[in-house]
């Protein structure tokens, strides 16, 4: 694939200051920082579906917001279609933003309860002048049908729709400005399984039909496996493993990925609960993350050398993992 990737994230850092009392400031006590992203590097090809997976507080949502330019970065670059989003002038940024849209977790809080669905979708169409004013209504109907809703839904209020229908509206709204990249943050997490399946298939169909690129952020490994060709696993603000989903899931190379996969309760009673003891303890605080490998405090394979920053080990199949023992971990799972 010589083609330039649609999105390249290079060495991205983001720290949030922890609130400090005025007195503590006067006393010269040090300012603490929450490490939300540290040295995150990955690329997403055009038309690809990239899954960002990790547990609460790993920084996956922050990463999505950084990509969209909703938060300023502290260091690093985000190249979208060849331009560094973090360095462009405001006018260009606005134009770039139209090309990347977000689908939120909770479509109820992201839709104005007093605005009819049709108006909610027409708003971005008018703002960005996507179609002439006399065609807006027609375009709204077309978008509603594209996401599997009747065009009559335009006259409804969000409260009259079910959760799955509202999520479809959220998707239609994101699609209205004809973006290249869709960032979906836990977009199916609030939905029941039967409805979740509908929305997953819709997102995948849209990606194929419209040539969209999808950055799909989720804590749900099953959903990522279903939808995403490529996966990036996050832990405490760092990406610990990246590669084709089928390969990473079949033979994880990072001990955290391995533990995460072993933790999923499999919907098959003949598979006994994984023999692997569940990962002990809980993720450390991102305020003072461990030095060296962030996972070493919970890692069953940790050794002395893990106190230094782990190398990014390149593996066959276009994969890498940030672990001294990545190759050994992966090969140990060869059947």
């Amino acid at each position: 694939m010589a083609e330039q990737p649609l999105l390249s994230v290079i060495g991205l850092d983001k720290y949030f200051p922890l609130r400090r009392s005025l007195v503590a400031g006067f006393m010269g006590q040090p300012q603490h920082w929450v490490q939300a992203a540290q040295g995150v590097t990955f690329t997403v090809a055009r038309g690809e579906s990239f899954g960002l997976v990790g547990e609460s507080g790993c920084g996956k949502t922050t990463l999505g917001r950084l990509v969209l330019g909703l938060l300023p970065v502290d260091d690093g670059a985000i190249r979208f279609d060849g331009q560094d989003v973090t360095k462009v002038d405001p006018a260009t940024r606005r134009a770039l933003r139209r090309q990347m849209q977000m689908v939120f977790q909770d479509p109820y809080s992201s839709l104005n309860p007093r605005m009819r669905i049709g108006r909610a979708i027409a708003e971005p169409l008018r703002l960005h002048g996507i179609v002439p004013a006399d065609q807006v209504e027609h375009e709204v109907a077309r978008l509603l049908e594209r996401v599997g809703l009747p065009s009559s839904a335009a006259g409804r209020y969000p409260s009259e729709l079910s959760g799955g229908q509202r999520q479809r509206v959220g998707i239609a709204r994101a699609l209205s400005v004809r973006p290249k990249l869709l960032v979906a943050d836990e977009a199916v997490s609030g939905l029941d399984v039967s409805v979740r399946a509908q929305v997953l298939n819709l997102l995948d169909d849209l990606r194929r039909d419209l040539g969209l690129t999808l950055l799909f952020i989720s804590h749900d490994l099953g959903v990522i496996e279903y939808l995403c060709e490529t996966v990036g696993v996050m832990y405490l603000g760092t990406m610990v493993e990246n590669g084709p989903t089928s390969q990473v899931f079949a033979r994880p190379a990072h001990p955290y990925t391995r533990a995460l996969l072993a933790s999923i309760p499999r919907a098959d009673p003949t598979l006994a609960q994984s023999d692997e003891t569940p990962l002990a303890g809980e993720p450390p605080s991102p305020v003072n993350p461990p030095s060296g490998c962030p996972f070493r405090t919970r890692c069953p394979d940790a050794q002395g050398m893990c106190e230094t920053s782990p190398p990014r080990v390149t593996l066959p199949g276009g994969r890498w993992a940030a672990c001294h023992f990545a190759a050994e971990t992966m090969n140990a799972q060869l059947q």
């Binding site: 547990e55 409805v195 399946a197 939808l227 309760p265 609960q273």
Partner: protein, 329 residues
């Protein structure tokens, strides 16, 4: 095994105007001593309402409208509040989905865990303290003395759920009701809590009723399972049968809508449409409108219960075929 809990034709309704809307209709099941029984279904199917009704913790205006809940020779559906007090905690413990809202934010964790002992048995304060620390160790809370003196907001989500389980266990119940106990937790913490519940069950010989939307959790935790849809149990079976040979079309559809690999390898088949509004359920089968096996008789009357050879049964006129031999789990 001895029957510990028998829910018999339970109906739960909520008054709306001059009518009563049925939230749960004609639910019957039995939990044996020491077993793990799952209730699975999607939002609004009545699973949480059902287990809350067992210990009469229905919220709002919901009421038991018919049926019985027998535990230890007592019909909990009819029991007086004083009788319920002695059963809650010592007979039946309960764990809720969100440990933060289940815990009192202004009391220390230790005090909340020990509180149950004040109402059950005549223990001295020192003995209660010792039992509290023991319960905290049992649920795997590190450094019990320190955590006992902490407030809920000082604990992590996983620790809070462990504390909530300690509260439920302190008076040694024979049955633990758990309503989505791991839904609010991360997957690695969920694995820890599920392992803990299984360990506690085998060590204490306690029965467990686990309500969840997650078929994976049920598969890994339960001996038998009931599938609920629109206020009714539509299928019940030993755990392996439900996954290997689901009979009710809803169970089949539910299993087909969970991801099990890539879309190319295992495409998902969503269930079209929505469950009916409880106030306007059809006179026939509630699933008929979404069912691929639907025939005209389904719309006339609700199907009765058909027992299955391997245990359990289903409520359907046109079920999926039974496999020739079904291994029982």
């Amino acid at each position: 095994m001895v029957d510990l809990l028998t829910v018999d034709h339970l109906g739960i309704g909520i008054p709306r105007g001059s009518n009563t809307v049925a939230l749960v209709e004609d639910v019957s099941f039995t939990v044996r001593a020491g077993e793990s029984y799952g209730i699975v279904g999607e939002s609004g199917c009545g699973k949480s309402t059902t287990i809350r009704a067992i210990i009469r913790l229905l919220t709002g205006k919901a009421r038991i409208t018919r049926g019985a809940v027998r535990f230890d020779g007592v019909d909990l559906a009819q029991a007086k509040e004083s009788a319920l007090q002695s059963i809650r905690g010592a007979g039946i413990g309960m764990v809720f989905q969100d440990p933060l809202t289940a815990l009192n934010p202004v009391l220390t964790v230790g005090r909340q865990i020990a509180e149950g002992l004040r109402y059950h048995g005549q223990l001295s304060a020192a003995d209660r303290h010792a039992r509290m620390l023991e319960a905290m160790r049992l649920v795997g809370l590190p450094d019990p003395a320190r955590i006992a003196a902490s407030y809920p907001h000082e604990l992590s989500g996983g620790q809070r759920q462990r504390a909530a389980i300690a509260i439920a266990l302190i008076a040694s119940p024979r049955l633990l009701l758990a309503d989505e106990p791991t839904t609010a937790l991360d997957v690695t913490i969920q694995a820890q809590i599920l392992r803990l519940l299984s360990d506690l069950r085998s060590r204490l010989g306690m029965a467990l009723v686990l309500v969840t939307h997650d078929l994976g959790v049920v598969a890994q935790t339960c001996d038998r399972v009931a599938v609920m849809y629109s206020g009714r149990i539509v299928e019940e079976a030993p755990i392996r049968r439900i996954f290997e040979n689901p009979r009710h079309p809803y169970t089949v559809a539910l299993l087909n809508s969970i991801p099990r690999g890539s879309r190319a390898g295992h495409p998902l088949h969503p269930i079209a449409g929505m469950p009916p509004d409880p106030a306007h359920r059809p006179s026939g089968c509630s699933f008929a409108a979404r069912c691929p096996n639907r025939q005209t008789d389904c719309e006339a009357v609700a199907p009765g219960w058909t027992p299955d050879a391997g245990g359990g049964g289903f409520a359907c006129f046109h079920p999926a075929r039974a496999h020739a031999e079904v291994p029982h789990g």
